[in-house]
Chain length 247, copies 2
DNA sequence: ATAATAGTGTCTTTAAGACAATATTAC
DNA sequence: GTAATATTGTCTTAAAGACACTATTAT
């Protein structure tokens, strides 16, 4: 308790006790998406700690006040911990907070989603987990039951990603650095769960100005295909018109 | 400290101390927008407490763990406290957390924006404030310097609102229940800071299916104008094409 | 009548959507 | 040659954008 009412801001801050008020538990959770063998996958870890010990969950955890520069840093730290690499895209989705989502009490989680290529990633359970694995997504859901409200969080993250497939170039960030147009369009098909006209998508993607030819070709199948990459300044193009698919 | 490692979830929860970990301070801040005399305004309060005592700030405050059902509830409570009414629209924008934004330590704020008609609102400073007033916005900024990082938060909330003006019917929520098409189009002009073709906007707004005629007219000026209101199921129409204005 | 604001009609442009046709590889 | 996939071309449609025009009030 304060000795007396402080008269200046310096006095106030000197006597301020951050633990005087009840604060919610604050965590960051990340939905890390990739595409493996033509299907969308999300990275899950198997919890080795209470609560929900033994259950699958989104990677996440408490903000580390001494280590994290900001919320994005917490999300990136979690990502690095589990995959050893940086994501091609990381984006905050929403913050959910209430009394019921965590049996430990009033808690709040800042939900992120990340996109990365599954190539060259070695999964690492890290502290507090016994396993880390890619799980196939069907309609924004995953096979096993998830800890906390993570099933709901996952659905929301997927919904955001799916929606952005209708008007941005984001989906390509689940691919490796070089890819063909057909590969890129297929990612859109997977996310929007609908067939898309090839010539239309081709024109649309090229018009974005975000793609550049690498100069080489993908050989091996039938007709070889040009390889593309995202242009450096990858300013994340937003189309003026949405695809009607995936509504 | 725990006596020993718990074996069951129930044991774990019984011995769990939420204050064992350092948690960030968690607040909710709300940018409440309206249009008064053809200009966009935001509701600010003058702080009567440290830190930033005497400075203008966005209405907001700590989550009340005993009272708030969720983060949206915290935002609605703040809104009610200052205006006495409910907002026509309330939406979460983003969560910002870092060590530098609050001199009291690592803190996190969940930013919301709200839209309401200024009509029939009596402003109320409420606890912790000496004044509450509408401040005119110019380019997402307000005259007086703001407490904390609120100038940045305000800019971000405004950017979100401006962006949504390009592809949603949201802007109308700053109007009273009944309005003319010209009034509605003018809100878009104010938000996008650009002139808009009247016939084009008229067709666009009517095609949304979100408007219904009230049956009465606004008289008084020159030619009377039909009055409209948002149709009940106001499912928040999203246009498939964006306006080019305001890019 | 004129001024002022509300509201309609029509043309152009752009990009999505549909689909036919051609090109390049492997076999 | 055929199969398979990559790539190009052309037509339709819908809505934005531009702008001319008509309608209804007040004075």
């Amino acid at each position: 308790m304060m000795a007396q009412t402080p008269q200046t801001e310096a006095e106030f801050l000197a006597s301020y006790d951050p633990k005087a008020f009840d604060a919610p538990l604050a965590t960051v959770d990340v939905s890390i998406f990739t595409v493996i063998e033509g299907a969308l996958h999300v990275l899950l870890i198997k919890r080795d700690e209470f609560p929900f010990k033994g259950a699958w969950a989104l990677p996440g955890g408490f903000v580390d006040l001494s280590q994290d520069n900001g919320l994005d840093a917490t999300a990136m730290r979690k990502l690095q911990e589990k995959t050893g690499v940086e994501a091609s895209h990381l984006e905050q989705v929403q913050t959910i907070g209430n009394l019921s989502r965590d049996p430990r009490g009033w808690s709040l989680t800042v939900l992120y989603f990340a996109l990365m290529s599954a190539e060259s990633v070695t999964l690492n359970p890290g502290a507090g987990a016994t396993e880390a694995a890619w799980h196939k997504l069907k309609g924004g859901q995953v096979e096993p039951p998830l800890a906390f409200d993570h099933a709901k969080l996952l659905k929301r993250a997927f919904a955001r990603l799916q929606n952005k497939a209708r008007y941005t170039m984001l989906p390509g960030y689940v691919l490796a650095e070089e890819f063909t147009l057909t590969e890129l369009i297929n990612i859109y098909r997977i996310l929007l769960e609908e067939d898309l006209d090839n010539p239309m998508m081709r024109r649309r993607l090229l018009r974005s100005g975000m793609l550049e030819e690498t100069g080489s070709m993908r050989e091996g199948g039938n007709r070889p295909a040009k390889l593309y990459r995202y242009a450096r300044a990858a300013s994340n193009h937003v189309f003026d018109r949405n695809l009607e698919a995936g509504k």
